[in-house]
């Protein structure tokens, strides 16, 4: 009987896969249903803006494109940090982890700016079913990104404590899976919510 510790890297597990990675993937499968529900809610309500601003009036595509690009590139830096750690390159691992967290923070900053702009233009959380659905969907995504930043910073702290070594690269890989998932959700949101022409008033 292999004990729990020995199997965590995949040795002696029934599938030959690491427990931790499998856990993260089951979680990501579950998250699909969460974001699916929020996105569907938005799609049902996107034309129900009442007297408030319509999505087609208010979306700033060039601005959102830039922040989408930032998030997309953070996926690259994330994978580079993992790749560095797998080579045993602690320094580059830290640099890319930090870059990823900063790009994520930049994205969140963009979202805060977007929200405040919308608020100024008369789109509050309670304005219409559309506004509630929009803020809820993008807000949930923003919370996911923020949690990802917290995880990245925790990894960074762990690295400076000297515990994030080549042998533990799986931890970075798992946080990376979460990060890339949040990125692909945004790829979906960006196209379906922003780029597909929205109703105007």
């Amino acid at each position: 009987m292999a004990d729990a510790a020995a199997v965590s890297h995949g040795h002696g597990t029934g599938t030959g896969l690491s427990n931790n990675k499998l856990l993260m993937w089951t979680f990501l499968g579950s998250e699909c249903l969460l974001f699916g529900g929020l996105i569907s809610t938005y799609l049902i309500y996107r034309s129900r803006f009442g007297d408030g601003p319509a999505p087609g009036d208010i979306f700033d595509i060039p601005f959102t494109s830039v922040s989408s690009f930032v998030l997309l590139m953070s996926s690259l830096t994330m994978v580079l940090s993992l790749s560095a750690l797998q080579r045993g390159d602690i320094r580059n691992n830290r640099i890319w982890l930090l870059t990823t967290a900063l790009l994520g923070a930049l994205f969140i900053g963009g979202q805060v700016y977007e929200f405040t702009t919308f608020l100024r233009e008369g789109l509050g959380y309670t304005t219409s079913p559309f506004s509630s659905a929009f803020f809820t969907l993008t807000g949930f995504h923003g919370v996911h990104v923020s949690l990802g930043i917290v995880m990245l910073m925790s990894l960074l702290i762990s690295s400076f404590r000297g515990t994030l070594t080549k042998e533990r690269s799986e931890t970075v890989e798992i946080v990376g899976l979460y990060w890339h998932f949040v990125d692909v959700v945004w790829i979906f949101i960006f196209t379906v919510i922003y780029l597909v022409p929205s109703p105007t008033s």
């Binding site: 089951t26 494109s65 690009f69 790749s83």
Partner: protein
């Protein structure tokens, strides 16, 4: 979940099969180009929705799976992970697709 993958590749060795940083950058460049194309459609106001939306969707799906395949390593990791992810995706698509149909979402265009 119906198949038994008892004798699967050892996860340790595959760390060395990971693509190089150069490859990752290439992937990112392609993603950036597709994103640029997507955003470019914003200024093409003459394109009718029946053409624009499927094209946008295709590019979105391409980006989605490109990130999943390369950055999330599904391309060279165990198919088991892909199964979990795709199961969630397919289930979400079907179930919420039916729900949107019940709300007559597709009729409004």
């Amino acid at each position: 979940m119906s198949t038994d993958t008892a004798e699967h590749v050892d996860t340790h060795d595959e760390a060395h099969d990971h693509p190089s940083d150069r490859k990752y950058v290439q992937v990112a460049i392609i993603l950036a180009i597709v994103t640029a194309l997507e955003v470019g459609t914003y200024w093409m106001e003459s394109v009718p929705g029946e053409v624009l939306i499927p094209v946008l969707m295709l590019m979105m799906v391409y980006k989605f799976f490109y990130v999943a395949a390369w950055f999330m390593h599904l391309k060279f990791d165990s198919p088991m992970f892909t199964k979990f992810f795709v199961a969630g995706l397919i289930l979400a698509t079907i179930v919420y697709g039916i729900m949107l149909t019940a709300f007559e979402f597709w009729h409004k265009g």
